[in-house]
């Protein structure tokens, strides 16, 4: 294993872990029971991916529970606090479309090959809900557009150091268009996650996620 691959594994593992943590916060709060099942299922897939990537980079629990936010290298998109259901769906669309591009580009990598099938389903689920919300009622359209506008700037960070943006745009733009949503102008492009510079939200997320593990150093669970 070379150092570059270990870094990549950390990045991908952290992305998936933090995305799973946010999505799991929806548990018992979804707008319908089927969606409680679906969101938990997607969170489980992401958690599984996180475990595989982190285990390849080191000890999954040491990495997940004993690093500070300055040591996590996930993109900021996944750490932003949950908003409404439109926020969850649009974030899932943006993030899973990115994961699909990435895992496709990584073809031959054992973990990516396994995860791509899951991610296909995530994209599809997000796409269907984006259509329903964007092209549903006035209220759902407004909420979906607000989520798109809020989250778009954070998507730029997904493409630092790779050339996946064209493929991602080709996947995402038609969904937004079919959902009657406006694709925002590119402008502000917050960054820093890959260097451990996060929004202030991540340290709160980690405080909660790590509290039990850290309270019992060396314990087995």
């Amino acid at each position: 294993m070379n150092a570059e691959l270990a870094t990549a594994d950390l990045n991908l593992g952290d992305d998936a872990l933090i995305a799973a943590q946010r999505l799991a916060e929806w548990t018992s709060r979804a707008p319908e029971l089927e969606e409680d099942v679906a969101l938990a299922n997607i969170a489980l897939d992401l958690l599984g991916q996180a475990r595989m990537f982190l285990s390849r980079a080191g000890d999954e629990d040491e990495l997940a529970f004993l690093r500070t936010d300055r040591q996590f290298t996930n993109v900021q998109l996944v750490e932003l606090p949950n908003g409404d259901f439109a926020h969850a769906i649009v974030r899932l669309l943006f993030f899973s479309a990115y994961q699909r591009e990435l895992y496709t580009a990584m073809a031959g990598d054992e973990i990516a090959d396994k995860a791509i099938k899951e991610v296909d389903y995530h994209v599809d689920h997000a796409r269907l809900w984006t259509l329903r919300l964007g092209d549903g009622t006035d209220e759902s359209h407004a909420r979906a557009q607000a989520a798109v506008d809020e989250l778009w700037p954070y998507t730029h960070e997904l493409f630092e150091g790779n050339d996946l943006r064209a493929g991602w745009l080709a996947a995402v733009e038609p969904v937004l268009a079919e959902a009657t949503l406006t694709r925002p102008e590119d402008g502000w492009a917050p960054t820093g996650g890959r260097q451990g510079l996060h929004t202030t939200h991540l340290s709160y997320l980690l405080a909660e996620m790590q509290v039990l593990h850290r309270a019992h150093p060396g314990a087995t669970w």
């Binding site: 872990l17 943590q21 799991a24 916060e25 548990t27 018992s28 709060r29 979804a30 707008p31 319908e32 029971l33 089927e34 969606e35 409680d36 099942v37 938990a40 299922n41 969170a43 489980l44 958690l47 599984g48 996180a50 475990r51 982190l54 999954e60 629990d61 997940a64 529970f65 409404d84 259901f85 259509l131 329903r132 919300l133 092209d135 549903g136 009622t137 209220e139 759902s140 909420r143 909660e208 996620m209 509290v211 039990l212 593990h213 019992h216 314990a219 087995t220 669970w221």
Partner: protein, 308 residues
């Protein structure tokens, strides 16, 4: 009448009543009440355990717990579907849960204070649920019996997971062991109370037994549960918090102290530690999701119009 005779004959022959069959109105109502209460319990039951998903101590435990809570949502889905075969709809049942016309299991009105509570719920609460539910796999109403087979299979998996959590804790650090014992101390009597009040005080038992919706009395099931737990507690090296719990050689069973049924009734009537919180949470999720369900419906209508 002939219908009633046929119905009772099916029951007597241990055959299943199916949705298309005639059934007494009271049988139907009683079943709806029971299945809905069970479905509601699965849905509300997501909350106490869901409380520890974000803080699970390892990624593996997080995955197991998340999968378990997801299973509960799934159980809710099968059970609502079974109730719907009796001519009610889910939205109506959901409203009855939120406005308190229908109940859910009172056990979920207790808080999950530590990680060990996740273990204790699995071992004791799911354990008690299984003792209650295994006979329901033979319930006379087909859709209910079939849903229960699936539910029981998964529940017994959950129970083993809970048992294993406690086993690891009770063989871990002194703090972990204390945490496990504390959880068992808090969950033991509420679990015993899950079987309901003793006979004579439970209004629905006799009729339910005649209809083979219920097959054992509350006390029979509670005794079975106690007898089952004693040996498991020994292996766990945890103490069941009842000094009156002793083997009765003559009867071939354990004597034990009954739970405080006054407390049970207080909780059932709405005054447990978490009743308000559970319903407020469910209501917020349901009402907060209205705009989403409206959007899905509006979108489906647009698409239907286009393809028509």
């Amino acid at each position: 009448g002939t219908e009633d005779d046929y119905f009772m004959a099916v029951i007597a022959a241990d055959q299943k009543i199916e949705p298309r069959d005639w059934m007494p109105e009271k049988y139907r109502k009683n079943l709806i009440r029971q299945i809905a209460q069970h479905a509601h319990s699965e849905i509300i039951g997501m909350q106490p355990e869901g409380n520890w998903i974000s803080r699970a101590p390892t990624l593996k435990r997080k995955a197991i717990l998340l999968a378990k809570v997801q299973d509960e949502a799934g159980h809710g889905l099968y059970l609502y579907a079974a109730a719907e075969t009796l001519g009610v709809d889910r939205a109506e049942l959901s409203d009855m849960l939120i406005d308190g016309r229908q109940k859910y299991s009172s056990i979920f009105n207790y808080p999950t204070l530590t990680w060990a509570d996740v273990g204790a719920i699995g071992w004791l609460v799911d354990g008690a649920a299984i003792v209650n539910q295994v006979p329901l796999c033979r319930a006379s109403y087909g859709p209910y019996a079939r849903a229960m087979i699936r539910v029981c299979k998964e529940e017994s998996f959950h129970q083993r997971q809970g048992y294993e959590i406690l086993h690891v804790l009770s063989h871990g650090t002194p703090e972990q062991k204390a945490m496990a014992q504390d959880a068992v101390d808090r969950w033991w009597y509420p679990s015993l109370a899950m079987f309901g009040p003793p006979e004579g005080e439970s209004p629905n038992t006799a009729q339910s037994m005649a209809w083979k919706v219920k097959r054992f009395t509350n006390d029979e099931l509670r005794q079975r549960f106690v007898d089952m737990c004693v040996g498991q507690a020994e292996i766990l090296d945890l103490t069941l918090p009842d000094p009156g719990l002793v083997w009765n050689e003559a009867e071939g069973r354990h004597d034990y102290t009954q739970p405080d049924y006054d407390e049970l009734f207080r909780v059932i009537k709405g005054n447990g530690p978490c009743n308000r919180e559970r319903i407020t949470h469910r209501k917020a999720a349901h009402e907060g999701g209205q705009w989403v369900r409206d959007a899905a419906e509006a979108y489906a209508k647009k698409k239907a119009k286009v393809s028509a």
